[in-house]
């Protein structure tokens, strides 16, 4: 437990002292601010019914389709790739700590740090509410929960991509590519007939966010989908890490 706490502290500390992560955070806040203002000023649906703002913002905006798949891998790209690149993985994995603890601590550290990203977004809704806007907080918090769960999945994908090699570009690009595939493939195939269409509809992330969480519903299927898939990618990361211990 003490070893895990040490690992977690180090991961969070490393993210907190990395300047590029703050640049990323600034860009995220800026783009989300622009999207937020755009939704308020230019979306006829939101202008006619402000309670639709969470659904617009967390369910079907560019945030989901463009920003959400790209940013988590940019946060996780260093977690293992940097260790591989600098040669610090060898001291880490020869310490008396399991590979699973290393993977989980890195993931948990990145996930806790990513709360900063979503905290800023939640702050925008809080400001709007303080200014007197009649917000539906069930929808806001539902949408926020859905986006958070989706981030957990995309962070796990990013960590998996970071375990491939010491190439940071590959870690970021690979993670984002998988995330976009997870997002777009079901959307493309949802109208297909037979089992392909059924699987696509069951794995349709924007629908889960838009019609479930952002509509104020706590969708247990979607929660299990995000967490289960995140678990799968964490498992794959662990496999990648322990595979060096396998006898050839």
């Amino acid at each position: 437990m003490r070893a895990f706490a040490a690992l977690l502290r180090r991961e969070i500390f490393s993210l907190l002292v990395t300047p590029s992560v703050y640049l990323l955070l600034g860009v995220w806040y800026l783009l989300n601010g622009i999207l937020f203002v755009y939704a308020l000023d230019f979306s006829p649906e939101v202008q006619s019914d402000l309670s639709l703002l969470p659904q617009y913002f967390f369910g079907s905006s560019l945030l989901v389709w463009l920003l959400l798949p790209a940013f988590p891998p940019l946060v996780t790209l260093r977690l293992l790739a940097e260790e591989l690149r600098l040669g610090t993985l060898e001291p880490l994995l020869t310490a008396p700590v399991s590979d699973a603890a290393v993977v989980l601590a890195k993931y948990l550290g990145a996930s806790l740090f990513f709360l900063l990203f979503w905290g800023g977004v939640l702050f925008l809704f809080a400001v709007l509410s303080l200014l007197g806007a009649p917000l539906d907080w069930a929808r806001v918090l539902g949408g926020f929960s859905g986006a958070l769960l989706c981030s957990l999945l995309f962070l796990a994908v990013g960590l998996f991509a970071s375990s491939w090699s010491g190439n940071l570009v590959l870690a970021a690009g690979g993670g984002a590519a998988i995330n976009y595939l997870l997002l777009f493939l079901p959307a493309i195939a949802e109208n297909a007939a037979g089992p392909v269409g059924a699987v696509a509809r069951a794995a349709h992330i924007p629908n889960m966010l838009d019609r479930g969480f952002a509509a104020g519903l706590l969708d247990s299927y979607a929660a299990a989908f995000f967490l289960g898939l995140a678990g799968l990618f964490l498992f794959l990361t662990w496999v990648r890490l322990v595979s060096r211990r396998w006898v050839p």
């Binding site: 610090t88 060898e90 001291p91 880490l92 994995l93 020869t94 060096r244 050839p248």
Partner: protein
Amino acid sequence: MIRVRGLTKRYGPIMAVRDLSFEVRPGEVLGFLGPNGAGKTTTLRILGGFLPPSAGEAAVAGHDLTRASIPARRATGYLPENFAAPPELRVGEYLRFRAGLKGLGGRARRRRCAEVAELLGFGDRLRQPFAALSKGFRQRVGLADALLADPPALLLDEPFGGLDPLQRVEFRAFLLRLAHDQEKAVLFSSHVLPEVGQVADRILVLDRGRMLACGSRGELLARLEQAPRLRLRLAGGAAAGLAAALPEAFPGLTVLAAEADGLLLRLADAGQVSALFRWLAGRPEEVVAFQPEEPDLEELFRVLVAGGGEEAA
């Protein structure tokens, strides 16, 4: 303390380590000697728990590295070759992080970090970023990391790399104190022969994954002492002519080194010494010095590696 039986490591078709067996007892320093690619780092990585063996067994403090890797790693302090720490961490932060990984907490962790930093002479650099340290100080931080949990076994991969001559002397003395005063089993690798000769109680010579020889410095050198070695100093740069003529005149004699004003010879046996005197007296070359020379590790290593271990064994 460190026990290895039939250790083998394959990378696809390449045999990095072949059927290696040895032990390191508490209080003993075993030096791994071998050229690049001999299998030193691979063996240390297996013993450090970073790589699995393809076959054979390895255990540290009674813990098998395959079945009980974490207890084995807890009993081991490991300094990898080219040790590196996260550059964003200060030295003190890094040591505290590593101490936490090794199960130390609270005051014990702070005290131990300060202790090892003082012990290795960088107590005044704990607030410096790791990236700002010289290679020598980085190496000291790596060794401090290995010592943090006071493990009974130390695995040090090329620990003298990057150290200046003064640091090497200090480091050698430090390693000997660790082994002989604190009863630690120390296994270190190097391809710098004088270092191994001066520090190790026993030397294991490794080449292409195979053990060529293992024993104390004296035991290993005794294998060469059957063949006396002589250094000749000559006036007037006459060494080249003699270098060509000597092996023809004396079967079994080998010219180990030839310089403009001198030759290093290995004779076939002690009986050749007086014959060589007489022969040289009849030659036009002027011999100004005639000095018997003890064989050294370099010679042993050269003979072992060239002969695959059989010539000297």
